[in-house]
Amino acid sequence: MPWTKIYGNKADFEKAGGAGAGLRGLTYREALHEAASQLLESDQNVFVMGEGVDDGGGVFGSTLNLHKRFGSDRVMDTPLAENALTGIAIGAAASGMRPILVHMRIDFMPLTMDQIINHAAKWSYMFGGAVSVPLTIRSIIGRGWGSAAQHSQSLQSLFANIPGLKVVMPSTPYDAKGLLRASVYDGNPVMFIEHRWLYEHMGHVPIEPYTVPIGKSITRRNGKDVTIAAVSQMVFEAMQAAELLAADGIDCEVIDLRTIRPLDSDAVIESVTKTGALIVADTGWASCGIGAELAARLVERAHGALKAPLKRINFADCPTPASPALEKAYYPDRHTIAAAVRETFELKRSNG
């Protein structure tokens, strides 16, 4: 499928053939914008709210000028009050609306934990299934913007621990558009986590509305030697690593998890049963993270599948630094992944 391909920017996209043949290219940012625009157009119950959704930046362009088209009561700028806005969105969702709440940085979300964990995640259960909270919360993670400990975190695992929530992390423009629509119509509270570094990535995106199933991973690259399970921006890094490794004759399978709760561990286990080796590349910390959960499930369900120790690629176990020098040391990239794969591949070979 053309839209499963990953292009880091417009130039790469065009080099690979670009649009044409009835296909159209959009950036991740444009895909998010189009998804919101189509939802607002077709469903009066959908509205977008958040601080700065109508300003000149428009949440890094993803909501730019939507208020001009749909009115400021459907694309609402709000005072800064994260917990209240989340509570309001929950109340609106419980009364039949389908709000899309935007927090520009995931680092603001700890202020909303009471509302998300004690309320949004619980109401379906507390009401015996009678009331649901169809709420989508967009938030953005990033790296390398020097904003450090309180502005560059990657907190997806906090949410993935909570029953009642769903957590999606699209890595391509196609998935960004399709998963946003799926989140709005999922019927559960969905944490929709974007990566700022993906905003300029370009890919094929159909013009008509569509959904991408929540809870399903996708295999971005087939391979026989080592499985790399990755999320968000690390999927792109994993694909680049796979290219580097292919030159050395190491054939990687890359699985884009796309959703981390529910986690499509079956696909990963199936792949590892074939390759015998697993690297998990996450955008956040290791402890109780995506890699830990995948490792546990692998051991629970297919403990003999591994022919070499599993490796996790994560942030170092310390807060995110501000200094560019420290950032360079802090963030794993394609080379970190490639080095881990090489080591694993060698161990697997020597273990016979």
């Binding site: 009066q44 119950n45 509205f47 009561d73 459907r74 709000t78 005072p79 009050a81 917990n83 209240a84 806005l85 989340t86 509570g87 309001i88 969105a89 929950i90 109340g91 609106a92 969702a93 419980a94 009364s95 039949g96 609306m97 709000p99 009471d114 509302q115 004690n118 309320h119 109401w123 379906s124 259960y125 507390m126 009401f127 015996g128 299934g129 009678a130 009331v131 649901s132 029953p163 009642g164 769903k166 999922d186 019927g187 559960n188 809870g215 709760r261 529910p262 079956d266």
Partner: protein, 353 residues
């Protein structure tokens, strides 16, 4: 002039029936006679429900319980001003509100016995589950109000919270945004003077809670919370205003929690017997009965009949609650998400054996 006055605040307090049962003639004529019987019968029912809940707790037949004794006028007077289709967002001490709205008592008992199904709101009512985290529900009411406004419905939202919640950020954020968006929300502060062991005087240096509405750009009023007619009148005005597009109102019901915070608390450790006795003399039923008697709406025989009917209803509700079979263990998985995750499906299969 270097300094000029650019704003003035007026804090109003409403009382319709005083502690001696005398009513303000101009105000009382605004309410129909039939409403007083409704007040009396609902308060009697809620009080009996409450009394039995406390007994059941002591007998080990019900879990930790939050008594409403003393606050019945604030709860019932306000709730009766709403229509069944309006939205009610309660804290955990609003059993009286729910009873006034027609919520089945068997479900309330079941809830306090420890059963999620007790908060499964019946068709025809829009009541969110009792909010146990203090004050979180204030923002939900703003969201529900936003939904009503988006859909163009003629409905109002009641949100209940205590004096303790008024110190939380949710109070400020909720009221502020309700004012900004001019939403149909009635904020009903049940100022019962004690947030567990913290007295109202330690909660805020402000003289009233009602006056805070001033800074959010809408009206706030304090009512004698033990005067059911005053609570009803102030709430009805706020509901009518909300439905006419006039935006939110803050009503501070000035009342008193006569019992412990919950059955797990011992209030004698932090407040004096004299204080409690003084408030007992001001409890809502005394003045309501005096007033109704003068109007020829109350007699001993009438009261006996009301108590008998209420008592039968409470007995039946307890019987039904205790006869309910325990929930199916699989329910805990079943209702967590709208559709089950693969892992939940596997866990459900295990539970279903």
């Amino acid at each position: 002039m270097p300094i000029s006055v650019i704003g003035k605040m007026e804090v109003k307090r409403l009382q319709v029936i005083n502690e001696q049962g005398q009513a303000d003639a101009s105000l009382i004529s605004l309410l129909p006679d039939s409403i007083y019987n409704k007040f009396f019968e609902t308060i009697t029912l809620a009080r009996l429900y409450n009394q039995r809940a406390l007994s059941l707790q002591r007998e080990g037949r019900l879990g930790t319980y939050a008594s409403i004794l003393g606050q019945e006028a604030s709860q019932i007077g306000s709730a009766l001003a709403f229509d069944p289709s309006d939205w009610i967002i309660p804290s955990f001490r609003e059993s009286g509100v729910l009873i006034a709205m027609g919520y089945p008592m068997r479900l309330l008992y079941r809830y306090w016995m420890g059963d999620e199904r007790g908060m499964s709101c019946p068709e025809g009512l829009n009541i969110l589950p009792m909010c146990v985290p203090v004050g979180s529900q204030l923002t939900h009411s703003v969201g529900v109000g936003m939904g009503i406004k988006h859909k163009g419905e003629k409905k109002a939202v009641a949100v209940y919270f205590g004096d303790g919640a008024s110190s939380r950020g949710d109070f400020h954020e909720g009221l502020n945004l309700a004012g900004v968006f001019k939403l149909p929300v009635v904020f009903l502060c049940q100022n019962n003077q004690w947030a567990i062991s913290v007295p109202r005087s330690a909660q805020s240096a402000g003289a009233t809670i009602a006056e805070r509405a001033f800074s959010y750009g809408f009206e706030g009023i304090q009512v004698d919370g033990n005067d059911v007619a005053a609570v009803y009148k102030a709430t009805k005005d706020a509901v009518d205003k909300a439905k006419a597009g006039g935006g939110p109102t803050l009503i501070e019901c000035f009342t008193y929690r006569l019992d412990d915070h919950t059955t797990s608390d011992d209030a004698t450790r932090y407040r004096s017997r004299d204080e409690v006795e003084a408030w007992k003399a001001r409890e809502p039923l005394i003045r309501l009965k005096l007033f109704m008697e003068k109007k020829g709406l109350w007699s001993k025989a009438y009261e006996d009949e009301v108590i008998k009917k209420a008592s039968d209803a409470v007995d039946a509700a307890i019987k039904e609650a205790e006869a309910m079979s325990p929930p199916d263990a699989a329910d805990m998985i079943r209702f967590t998400n709208k559709e089950l995750t693969l892992r939940q499906k596997r866990e459900l299969e295990e539970l279903e054996g």
